[in-house]
């Protein structure tokens, strides 16, 4: 399979703090990739750079071979790279249906470009109804987005990224703030939608059960670097990942043990 997204020598510094340190990665089309790492490891910085929220200090990002490093978020979205946010970014005074209608309207107004022909030809209201049904949001249709429970807000945030028909979807902690029993329901719903749309997915996640269940490949971040890259079982078994990401302590050395004895 060919790479749809590539990061080459990506660096990002905030003053003395290095948030991304020589990141090199290629993501294959239609793959589902998990990004793991402790807080501050550089996962969200990576997503922010890919989606144009942050400009890298150096390095380049290629989408289907095209350099998108210095494009604005809007232009990157129009190419087909969409995202959700750790804190859902909704139109809080609007209803759930109106939130999605904004996205459909943007595609219709653009009259082409990145949107799929099926969505352009469908009546906007039908497209919104289909999206509500796909994400199980039908019963919330006329509810004000600002008053929704957190799990539903997360789902709507992802639906809003999906409504503009992305080629790549980046999810920033889709299950954070969602109750344990709702996590898998939410992820099942999202994964069904991305499989149907043949969308490539990269998602940041702290819950390793979610990572193992839904990803084909895992990138483990630590101090701005990718310290492990491979299939979930292999990455989660890596010594560095177990120590720096999962938080398992390394066995104490004999000298140190004798001091505590």
């Amino acid at each position: 399979m060919s790479a749809i997204l590539e990061a080459k020598g990506l660096n990002k510094s905030f003053g003395a703090v290095t948030a991304a340190n020589d990141i090199n990665v290629a993501v294959e089309q239609h793959s589902i990739v998990g990004l793991i790492g402790s807080n501050g490891a550089g996962k969200t910085t990576f997503i922010n750079m890919v989606t144009g929220y942050l400009e890298p200090t150096s390095g380049s990002i290629l989408f289907e071979g095209r350099d998108i490093t210095s494009l604005e978020p809007r232009q990157i979205t129009q190419l087909g790279i969409c995202r959700s946010f750790q804190i859902p970014q909704l139109f809080n005074t609007m209803t759930v249906a109106e939130n999605l209608m904004v996205g459909v309207g943007i595609i219709v107004s653009a009259g082409g470009g990145w949107a799929s022909s099926s969505l352009q030809s469908a009546a906007p209201a039908k497209a919104v109804d289909a999206m509500l049904e796909q994400f199980g949001l039908g019963s919330y249709r006329d509810r004000q987005a600002g008053l929704l429970p957190e799990g539903t807000r997360k789902l709507l945030d992802i639906a809003m990224a999906m409504v503009v028909r992305p080629r790549i979807l980046l999810l920033d902690e889709p299950t954070s703030g969602v109750s344990a029993d709702e996590k898998f329901v939410l992820m099942d719903c999202v994964m069904a939608a991305v499989r149907e749309g043949r969308v490539t997915v990269l998602f940041v996640e702290h819950d390793m059960d979610v990572v193992v269940r839904y990803t084909q490949r895992v990138l483990a971040f630590y101090e701005g670097r990718i310290i492990a890259d491979g299939d979930p079982a292999q990455v989660l078994d890596d010594v560095e990942v177990r120590r720096f990401v999962i938080g398992e302590h390394a066995p104490m050395q004999a000298g140190a043990a004798s001091i505590h004895a």
Binding site: R74, T77, Q89, F91, N92
Partner: protein, 311 residues
């Protein structure tokens, strides 16, 4: 696009107002004229407010529109009402397209103050320009509509007629725009600019467009006022004038294109009667009205209509 109830109502009100014109007493026609002119300006303010912006400087375009109309009459010697309105729309579109490039970068108090600064620059220029009458301004006289001469005794009704038609046409077009996908972005931008950008739309170009539309509406309002009053002066761009438009905008609410028109009528009626019966304290009457609206109707007068619809 299919006509909605608002568009049909706009058509019906236009016919009713035009039909009522010949029987309206002089004072009522004057009041209606001022309310419609102000209403046209506040239609544009409403669009900006829906986008999350408040301009304290739309007197700039109100005045610019009036001076463009005056220039067509006095300098070009073409005293035609339609031409005056067209000139006002063209001049305000051109100036706002340039200023909008800068203003679309700012939000909140910075947008408000920068727009105020531009309006005061025009004020400063006008009071120093003797060719345009300096602080006194100058008189204008419109004697035809689209090339058709208007008799002296019909001029008052002609001014009223073009005001009704232009105001209602503006409201109708704005209503269609607000129902369009692009128009719906106004509230989306007010709610969450970040998400709008991450859905693939340009926040800055939309704000720029809305700024130009609101400026053109203010210019048309200014030209119509100039046609009806027959006099223009730099006070039209002085800051209290812009403040009045904000006042009416808040008083009206942003729920419908009828809100600014109704709000302007209520404002002008209160001001006229307060001035008549309480000439030394009329500002206080307006102040108390505003206070009452902000406390009891934070969504403006139009929220009363929305409550009834919701009930």
């Amino acid at each position: 696009m299919k006509l909605d109830r608002t568009s049909i109502a706009i058509g019906a009100i236009t016919v009713a107002l035009l039909a009522a014109g010949p029987v309206l007493p002089k004072w009522a026609m004057s009041l209606a004229n001022v309310a419609l002119c102000y209403g046209t300006v506040v239609l544009g303010m409403m669009l900006l407010m829906r986008t999350g912006l408040v301009s304290f400087g739309h007197g700039l375009y109100y005045c610019l529109g009036a001076y463009a109309a005056g220039t067509v009459d006095q300098m070009l010697k073409l005293p035609d009402m339609a031409l005056m309105v067209a000139a006002a729309a063209a001049a305000t579109a051109a100036v706002s397209a340039v200023l909008g490039l800068l203003l679309a970068r700012y939000r909140d108090i910075f947008f408000a103050m920068l727009s105020l600064a531009f309006s005061m620059i025009l004020y400063g220029l006008l009071v120093k320009t003797s060719a345009l009458g300096s602080t006194d301004g100058f008189n204008i006289s419109a004697r035809s509509i689209a090339g058709i001469a208007v008799a002296d005794d019909a001029r008052r009704y002609a001014g009223y007629g073009i005001t009704v038609v232009m105001t209602m046409l503006s409201a109708g077009i704005l209503n269609l725009y607000l129902r369009s996908h692009r128009g719906r972005l106004a509230e989306a931008i007010r709610d969450n600019e970040l998400r709008v950008e991450y859905m693939g739309a340009s926040v800055r170009s939309t704000i720029h467009l809305h700024y130009v539309i609101s400026a053109v509406l203010a210019g048309i309002g200014g030209a119509l006022m100039a046609i009806n009053i027959g006099h223009i002066d730099p006070e039209m761009t002085y800051w209290p004038q812009s403040g009045e438009f904000v006042f009416i905008g808040i008083l009206s609410g942003t729920g419908s294109v009828f809100a600014p028109l109704g709000g302007a009528l209520v404002f002008e009626t209160i001001r006229s009667f307060a001035y008549e019966y309480s000439p030394n304290t009329w500002q206080m009457v307006l102040g108390v009205t505003m206070l009452a609206v902000m406390i009891f109707l934070p969504g403006g007068l139009w929220s009363l209509v929305q409550r009834r619809k919701g009930a």
